[in-house]
Symmetry: C3
Subunit: 363 residues, 3 copies
């Protein structure tokens, strides 16, 4: 069983999920509970009282202190025991705490060594903040019965929108006429599609329109498992010359896909979708929410979960056939395997299964 | 864990189950999908795309080609990749195929080496074809949470109809006054009961009638797990002299009991029952169907599943007490163990658990 | 995995549960069925026919003989085969029997060596017999998804009534002002609280009353897992001088808590509660039943089951923090570990996990 990357930031939840006091989730096989301390700073500790192992999330937060439901021991946001109803405070009864940072409406958790946690390395999802009145951002959470790397693969190879998302985003053959460019930007991996002069359709009638558009669809993966999509349909020719360069500055629609392993084979999937700033004015907040919910919950989820259940074993040892469009996903798997191996420090004894070197050109 | 016999025919389904395009089932721990190719020949392949492991049964059959739901790869009935929407066809992307033969309304699958598959060795269930207008054949499928050998045991010792089927077929003490003859016919094992001059009952009132009948109840097991029952109530004395010989040619009622291991502890149970050609004229299609459904689903199934759950371990190592009526089942278990051991080729290292030699005379 | 103590009495059920013929339960990982023989004596045998492993509890008791549902073999209360519908009685077909004693409305089972079973060592629950017309005893059964030792811990540290049972028995701070005395009486361990001069409350309004009471709350544990609670609110000063002595003879309310391991992580919990003989005259049978049902099923059960699911591993190797109020539970765990180790006879090879010596003074 491959380990998880530890010294990095994972999405633990949406900030609003803390509104009702506590948020308990299993992440990286650990039961963790987040709560707000007296000054409203979010904190996260192991969800297990060190006295008798009751889930602390069954207790209550009073004045920023988390009290166990069983015998009333109270714990601070740093995991220190600060209250005992039946005698002196047992200072040995500390519970492990985790760095937790609230940014861009997301709670980011650091499961590794606390001293190494640097909020400056949290991936940028500042698009979650509205820049004007017309903006909207819809977001949600899906529990997936599939490993997080299966989901990263899915997002790094967006050719599946032609088949899986035929009922929502795709099925118009755009990808078939597109060019895929893979870029490595620091530790990030980008998989960017450029689809020039694609036909447009009247979405109510399905009829092909006279006008055409230049379409791009750019995916940015930041380790370990935060993906941002950026895409747009632009009047054909507007941005000629941007085929092979970064398109970060161009207007378009953004999506977040934040994938946190709950266990080896289940994943917390936090997604968001922001109003497009290009020609897709017909996409209201209601349409946008309905579209992504259908695509992610009805189209992706059952298929990816069927794949997880259908895997004959660990991914690489199952010897997948690798096709050209798998390039982005394969690079992410290689990068992640290298980061985990480096962190574990012992290349020889590593539990990381790494992709064979020769895979990309199979056919 | 004992292995399965591989080079032999198992029932994979009823032919009509292919009507709606595909039939996906786990057999012998393998996920398999059957479909009809362009010329309507049935084919079976592993239900797992070699690219990203999606179940092929989530896709669609178009013009006899099975297309994956994930990225649209298409596979022929022989498992060859014949279509790729995003580029050249990856010929490495073959999926394992299995010999599949449609006969007697049954789809027979051969999980072993394809080159050895000989349709001539499919057991005869030609009684499924009606020979006249008055005939009827009812059939069905039951998913059983019990190993297939527990079910074979059940059918090879029909004395259980006196207790388990007291509410349907049995409970009249016929077996108690019968004689059991075991025969080995090639690789088949037959367990045949002869019950001369048994009393008949008015089934509506339960009253014993004046007339008596000679009753036989013959079970034919063909390896690995196809059983045919043949039984009749004949006016007493009609067939005197047939007590100890094969009664294949005598009129009577037929049943099929086809048991395909889904996993070690679950079984696909395909059954059929044909109109009796003897004195049981009261048994209409409706009565026949209701009777066997009650017997198989309400009487056998819960008891056999309770036994499976109650087994302390593997059958022989649990040291069952063997009674005289167990003779047929014990012979089948020995035969099957021998066939599996021979197939595995390595007697010393065999995973087959074989019955101890001395079991049959225990008391 | 730690073993169970074998040569001792466990509650198998309430006597009235045998009224309808049979009582089948898993105890100590063994499926067992109890029934009444011809003279109404209760008997218990392994719930598995030695012929084909059918659960005997699916059969029927006729004239004190337990008949298997599959082929009709009949077994006596001592497990001997006494009937075979299809031939001579197979005397090898014996089923294991267990000593079973009916006492104080409880069926006590001895899973160990039958020759050692001495009914004189059954713990005393004679309070189940009413001594006058006004008495009532309510009782019940709860299936718990938690190990039985977690439950013993819960009962040996009753400080949890201040937190967990705030909605029923507790939350008035009595324990906080009390003194805990631990006593070892033969193989029993007693954990007794003395809470002098506690305020009383009007239970309908919640208002504090002028009168005060001396309150005691005494727990007696008898190995392996039978607990009796005895408690009372007495007019203050009535029993001055009894703070540090046994209070068995004082009037009060009794409860039984009988915990029988079904498996390592599930428990049969038989409870009873008897009418208080002291000042709590307001507690009618209806109020008493509702109160304990709420406390045991709604307050204890979900919390203890959450603890079981939340345990990082075996109890001691999970290194619990031990607080002063855990003294009783720790002594029981030590005693039980010693008894199991002695029974297994091989200290070196023991599977018993024993508490570290230094645990009690941790803070």
């Amino acid at each position: 069983m491959a380990g998880y990357l530890q010294n990095c930031w994972y999405a633990f939840g949406w900030a609003h999920e803390l509104e009702n006091g506590m948020l308990a989730r299993t992440a990286l096989d650990m039961r963790i509970v987040a709560f707000r301390t007296a000054d409203r700073t979010p904190a996260a500790v192991l969800d297990r009282c060190p006295h008798r192992f009751a889930p602390l999330s069954r207790g209550a937060v009073r004045d920023g202190v988390l009290h166990c439901a069983y015998h009333g021991l109270g714990f601070s946001g740093s995991g220190e025991c600060v209250h005992n109803p039946f005698g002196s405070v047992p200072h040995k009864a500390a519970v492990r705490s985790f760095p937790l940072v609230e940014r861009d409406h997301i709670l980011w958790i650091w499961p590794g060594e606390s001293a190494l946690a640097d909020p400056a390395t949290i991936p940028d999802f500042s698009f979650h903040h509205k820049s004007n009145e017309q903006d909207w951002v819809v977001h949600g959470y899906i529990h997936m019965r599939t490993g997080y790397q299966i989901e990263i693969d899915n997002l790094m190879d967006l050719s599946h929108i032609e088949t899986v998302h035929r009922g929502t985003f795709g099925g118009r053959g755009y990808i078939n006429s597109g060019q895929l460019e893979l870029r490595e930007v620091g530790e990030e991996i980008h998989a960017n599609w450029w689809m020039p002069s694609v036909p447009l359709y009247d979405l109510t009638t399905g009829a092909k329109l006279d006008s055409r558009a230049d379409h791009f669809l750019d995916t940015r993966w930041s380790p370990p498992s935060a993906l941002r999509l950026h895409f747009s349909f632009m009047p054909a020719g507007t941005y000629t010359g941007r085929e092979n360069s970064a398109r970060e500055d161009l207007p378009g629609q953004f999506q977040a896909h934040l994938l946190t392993p709950e266990t080896q084979r289940t994943t917390h999937y936090f997604w968001s979708s922001k109003r497009p700033t290009d020609m897709n004015a017909w996409m209201t907040e209601e349409v946008g929410r309905a579209l992504v919910l259908t695509a992610f919950e009805q189209e992706d989820k059952p298929l990816l979960e069927a794949i997880e259940a259908n895997m004959p074993g660990e991914f690489w040892s199952s010897r997948p056939i690798i096709l050209p469009n798998d390039g982005g996903g394969v690079r992410v798997r290689r990068r992640l395997a290298r980061l985990i191996r480096n962190e574990q420090g012992t290349p020889g004894a590593s539990a990381v299964v790494e992709p064979p070197e020769e895979l990309e050109t199979q056919q």
